[in-house]
């Protein structure tokens, strides 16, 4: 599991800071600690997919979203993926806050970069898995993104049995705890399409988000 330094800096809002030995050392230390102490966990499964207008069905559960239905157009299967860094990541942020707010912010950013990197690694694994079934993957899409309501988390959790398998829980406002956790749909189609946009470009916050890869507004 490799945590990319430039991604940590992006989350930290430090992408444009030049060489800074103190910050770089801190990032290096935190990354090392995370890599040695955190064991991420995941689960994913392939499901056959069924559509009705802007609704798609996994098992017999409906999910309403025009954005995701567009993303899944032409797909025969969908992968549901969940992964987490577990509670130790949240504890490490808390612990860092006691001694240094910089270390806390770096830990927070490095955890975000780590779960993203882990998600990407799993995504590659899923692509290979799909390829062996002659399927091609679409970009991943998470509950709460676009018009896919956060409420879908409850069904998502039930279908994958996430709390039991990974120890992730939902609080009353449907946020995941431990916080460094990701759930996502990945569409699988028998036809290879290259034109589908990825991540930031597809997001409706694209122009306002400070974390956007394209800069966003300041």
């Amino acid at each position: 599991m490799n945590i990319p330094v430039n991604e940590v800096k992006r989350y930290l809002g430090a992408a444009r800071i030049g060489e800074n030995s103190q910050l770089d050392l801190m990032i290096e230390k935190v990354i090392h600690e995370l890599e040695s102490r955190i064991i991420p966990h995941h689960i994913y499964r392939f499901f056959p997919l069924r559509f009705e207008e802007n609704t798609f069905y996994v098992e017999d559960t409906p999910f309403h979203s025009s954005a995701l239905s567009r993303n899944l157009k032409g797909c025969t299967d969908v992968v549901m993926l969940a992964c987490t860094l577990g509670p130790e990541a949240d504890r490490m942020v808390k612990r860092a806050e006691i001694s240094s707010i910089l270390e806390a912010a770096v830990t927070q950013a490095a955890c975000s970069a780590m779960i993203e990197a882990y998600g990407n690694e799993l995504n590659q694994q899923i692509k290979d898995d799909a390829a062996s079934r002659n399927l091609y993957c679409r970009p991943r899409f998470s509950p709460g993104y676009g018009d896919l309501s956060l409420n879908t988390q409850r069904d998502f959790f039930r279908i994958l049995n996430i709390t039991k398998e990974l120890g992730i829980t939902l609080n009353d406002s449907l946020l995941m705890v431990p916080t460094k956790s990701v759930t996502a749909f990945i569409g699988c189609s028998p036809v290879n399409q290259n034109c589908i946009l990825n991540g930031c470009e597809e997001c409706n916050m694209n122009t306002q988000c400070v974390y956007s890869r394209n800069g966003g507004s300041e």
Binding site: S21, E97, I101, T169, S173, V177
Partner: protein, 801 residues
């Protein structure tokens, strides 16, 4: 009551297998709650149980795994009672009156505080309710299973023990590396479960029998009670969108036979196993001879994820979390400055402590409340086991109750009153106890006298059902200058407690040298001698290099440091010494020479240098406020702040400077302890109800504090009522609220509404990822702050005219 416990110690018991897949075959729909079938399809539930009874199981679980108040708010009692009744009906129908109905209890699906939002006591009550219904309906035992969090396991066990007299078994779920999802291991978990009174412990679910073998071995090495093993039929695989388990009965039963041969006493299955898996298993396991449960005499204390074995290498119990003789610590307690206490924990852990003593008693504070808060917060940032140190049994009980792991109590002594107050608590909560060799007559001056008291405490412990391994004898260190024989007496007591009584031992060391010069010399030599006499734990300050030197050297010399690993790691090359934070480690020496003003140190964000320069400046000035704070600190902070606002300084640089300034302020405050601090104003900060993101709020807190504000930090997920109540009670003029999600801005709006009604003169500033000026206006905030600096500026506009 049918004597299942006697049976479990005399013969192997067979447990049932999976139910989910079988119920699905009978027609359970995805998303349908299985326990609802107790009411709508009772005959199918009886059929499920009957299948296993016919296969020959001794114990089977009621269909109540997910039956709790969260899933069944309206008809829980009905569901649980029906579940037990159907179990009994199955026994009747199959004529298996020798079999036992286990009230099945699974996890709540919620994560407990502090990480999650379910409080420990709420969790206990949630489980208690199930236990009350199930026990009164006539279940034969309680089976807690599939626990992935040690804290939730503790809540369930306590609930079972407090609400029925039935035997309680508990099995937890581990991953292939032998860890719980929350980080615990067999060795950190099992001592806690046994201590809390589990009659059998074990592992179920998630893994197949093959993957469980190494973990079962760890169980058998650790447990003093029978071990239950209920694996899945292999690892789950997906076929056509359905989960399948593909280890068939033949293979499953072969591995279960091996597992029984290792010494497991309870044998069954979990997901994907069927009556035919169990039939085959019983057939083969019957050939394996039964052996009685081994006892493992090792003393273990633990936290939610790590454990310390007491014995062998001498362990360090850090003594710094204690207000005795420490002005700064006392002030922190009075100010409710928990962060200071936590920083003491981190320092000691980094210095090499194995266990932390926690004493927060002061005559003028609520010790019970403080102890609870400190233990909760400590367990949020360190995994070291804690030694709970209080003379007040009420404080002890509350602390033992909420502690996540197997704690150590400091202490019991030979007085009748102490024995009868402390030992029952140790028994109920499964703690290990430090036993002081003193009684109503005082401290005996001979080792004979002290050993006699130790024996009396051991007898009392035995009477209460506390195993000898959980009593750690303190031979008592007395000042050698007032009695030249005292060191000898203590050393003899340690030797005899260790060699004659076979107990673990502990000493507070530094008392020995009281009233003599060069105390470190005497202390460290005395420690070495005590270790040579068998000392298991030393209560010391781990930041003290000479004590740590004596400890590491003696461990090495006494063959308790394999390959001299600890010793070499600590002392091979001086540069590896005392590197505690990157801030200190990374301060480049040449920079110190280049520009050695405090202002520059803060601008560049170098914490160690800021501390050192502040200390130097303090020596040369009479008026630190004018000469240091106003002349250097504030201008430096302002420069960084303005740069941040202008976009030339980035967040990490702002934070570096904030850390450096904070360190400098801390030095100044320590020096001016007796002078009243000047503050600009008092501000409440909180992340609103249902929101759990608080790093942004914490950054704002550090910034406000550096700019001279007293911040009342109410934390995250804070009820509107709490914020309003605090604002009214403390007469607060400014409240800062943070929300990260659109979904939690609702709570922000509600908080503002309540605040306006109760205290209209209080201003509200809001921030957080989703906030905009427009949004802030809409929910009625007085101001929107886009970052920490903007919050500081707004606060200044209110408090600094």
């Amino acid at each position: 009551m049918k004597p299942i416990l006697e049976k479990l110690h005399q013969q192997r018991l067979y447990f049932d297998g999976g139910s989910g897949t079988l119920l699905q075959k009978m027609g359970l729909k995805p998303g349908e709650l299985p326990e609802s079938w107790n009411l709508i399809h009772p005959e199918r539930v009886v059929e499920l149980h009957s299948g296993y009874l016919k296969a020959g199981v001794d114990v089977f679980n009621t269909n109540t795994f997910g039956a709790n108040r969260i899933h069944y708010p309206d008809n829980l009692e009905e569901i649980v009672r029906a579940g037990v009744r159907l179990g009994k009906q199955a026994i009747k129908e199959t004529g298996r009156s020798d079999a036992y109905v286990a009230l099945d209890i699974g996890p709540t699906g919620k994560l407990l505080e502090p990480l999650g939002d379910l409080s420990f006591e709420d969790a206990v009550e949630l489980f208690a309710e199930i236990v009350r219904y199930g026990a009164s309906e006539g279940a034969d035992l309680v089976m807690i299973e599939t626990m992935t969090d040690s804290y939730e396991a503790k809540a369930a066990l306590l609930a079972a023990k407090e609400n029925c007299d039935l035997p309680v078994f508990i099995t937890c779920t581990f991953d292939a590396t032998g860890k719980l999802l929350t980080g615990g291991t067999v060795k950190s978990l099992v001592p806690m479960l046994e201590g809390l009174g589990a009659d059998a412990v074990g592992i179920n679910c998630s893994l197949g029998p093959n993957e469980m073998v190494p973990i079962v071995k760890q169980f058998l090495e650790t447990a003093n009670v029978p071990v239950i093993v209920n694996p899945n039929a292999g690892l789950p695989k997906t076929r056509n969108g359905m989960t399948v388990f593909d280890v068939l009965p033949e293979e499953f039963s072969d591995i279960m036979k091996e597992i029984a041969g290792l010494g497991a006493k309870g044998i069954g299955g979990c997901c994907g196993t069927t009556p035919s898996h169990i039939t085959k298993t019983i057939e083969k396991v019957k050939e394996v001879p039964f052996c009685t449960t081994q006892s493992n005499p090792i003393t273990i204390v633990s936290s939610y994820s790590s454990y310390v074995e007491i014995g062998g290498k001498t362990k360090i119990i850090g003594e710094r979390i204690n207000p005795t003789g420490k002005k700064k610590f006392q002030q922190a307690l009075r100010d409710h400055n928990i962060d200071y206490i936590l920083s003491q924990a981190i320092e000691q852990e980094d210095a090499g402590a194995d266990i932390l003593d926690v004493n927060v008693g002061l005559p003028d504070i609520d010790e019970k409340e403080m102890m609870t808060t400190v233990i909760r917060r400590l367990q949020g940032i360190t995994s070291l086991p804690l030694q709970i140190d209080s003379p007040d049994p009420k404080v002890l009980e509350q602390a033992l109750r909420i502690y996540n792991g197997k704690p150590l109590i400091n202490s019991v002594n030979g007085k009748e009153e102490s024995i009868h107050a402390v030992l029952p608590l140790a028994k109920k909560y499964g703690a290990a106890v430090v036993a002081l060799c003193l009684d109503e007559q005082g401290i005996p001056s001979t080792a004979d006298g002290r050993i006699a008291i130790a024996k009396r405490i051991l007898e009392a412990a035995d009477h209460y059902g506390i195993p000898r391994r959980d009593i750690i004898i303190d031979g008592l260190t007395m000042t050698v200058s007032s009695d030249p024989l005292s060191a000898r007496t203590t050393l003899d007591t340690v030797y005899r407690a260790s060699h004659e009584l076979g107990c673990a031992t502990v000493l507070g060391v530094s008392n020995i040298s009281f009233g003599l010069p060069q105390r470190a010399l005497l202390n460290s030599n005395f420690l070495s001698m005590a270790m040579a006499n068998g000392l298991s734990c030393a209560i010391i300050n781990p930041n003290n290099a000479s004590m740590l030197g004596a400890l590491r050297s003696s461990n090495a010399l006494l063959n308790q440091d394999e390959h001299f690993e600890d010793y070499i790691n600590a002392y091979a090359g001086t540069e590896e010494l005392v590197v505690t934070t990157v801030n200190t480690a990374s301060a480049p020496k040449q920079n110190v020479e280049a520009d050695a003003s405090l202002r520059s140190a803060i601008l560049r964000g170098i914490t160690s240098q800021s501390e050192r320069l502040t200390e130097e400046l303090l020596k040369t000035t009479e008026d630190p406020l004018t000469d240091i704070v106003n002349a250097q600190l504030i201008p430096a902070l302002d420069e960084v702040g303005k740069g941040f606002e202008a976009g030339t300084v980035f967040l990490p640089q702002l934070l570096m400077s904030a850390d450096a300034a904070k360190a400098s302020f801390a030095v100044i405050r320590a020096a001016m302890q007796d002078h009243p601090q000047e503050i600009k104003g008092r501000v409440i900060l909180a992340t609103v109800k249902n929101d759990i993101h608080d790093i942004g709020k914490n950054i704002v807190k550090v910034m406000l504090e550096n700019y001279g504000y007293d911040v009342i930090d109410l934390g995250k997920d804070v009820d509107p009522e709490v914020i309003v109540e605090t604002a009214v009670k403390e007469n607060i003029r400014l409240v800062g609220l943070s929300a990260l999600m659109t979904t939690t801005v609702v709570s922000m709006e509600e908080t503002i509404r309540q605040l306006r009604a109760a205290k209209p003169d209080t201003k509200v500033v809001v921030g957080g990822a989703v906030m905009t000026q427009e949004y802030a206006d809409k929910i009625g905030a007085d101001a929107y702050a886009k970052d920490a600096m903007a919050t500081v500026r707004y606060a200044d506009s209110i408090f600094v005219k």
